[in-house]
Symmetry: C2
Subunit: 114 residues, 2 copies
């Protein structure tokens, strides 16, 4: 029984599966790409995701928050309320992995073009 075959408490078969579940979701990867460079507000984020509905963005953000990858900050001193989203420490630790996946994706696309 290697680490790759270990059963986790989340029901996944291996830690790789855990990572995939955290990243899985229609808009999560691009949301994370956006938040890697700057903190963003809900509507700003929404406008940067053409085709994403408010409901979907809300769902994806909720999942990322409950997975402790991002966090939100709410400023209630104004009306209307201002909220912004940013990566947590765990989210920041994902960046090298995301970059490795992005690099492989580029090489893959290049290889398929041949």
């Amino acid at each position: 029984m290697t680490a790759l075959q270990m059963q986790t408490r989340h029901g996944e078969v291996c830690p790789l599966d855990t990572t995939l579940k955290v990243l899985d979701g229609k808009w999560k990867s691009i949301i994370l790409c956006r938040l890697m460079t700057e903190d963003l507000r809900f509507t700003t984020l929404l406008r940067s995701l053409p085709g994403c509905t408010r409901r979907m963005l809300s769902l994806q953000l909720s999942q990322l928050i409950s997975d402790h990858i991002i966090a939100k900050e709410v400023d209630t001193s104004f009306v209307p309320t201002k909220t912004s989203y940013h990566l947590t420490e765990l989210g920041l630790s994902l960046i090298p992995v995301i970059q490795a996946m992005d690099t492989w994706g580029q090489q893959y696309i290049t290889a398929l073009d041949d």
Copy 2:
């Protein structure tokens, strides 16, 4: 417009998305884990995936093949036919990425346990 925001011919938003799509699917990650250590036949693979139906395995394998991540070899000199699946060069190039994701998954699980 950075590389991460580039639109690809597959309709993804960034190469990261391409990688996620290649890996996305209920059983793909564990199939790849299995094939990383040895070539396997259809039924052997199926038995190593408790809960996976033949239909699902067939679908996942088909997608991995059409994505050029794995390939199959069919030996028709026998009846019944023997087939086996193995990683392609592109599939092999995925291994470091998979290991990075697996390592992050382990650290993530550990961090959540605190």
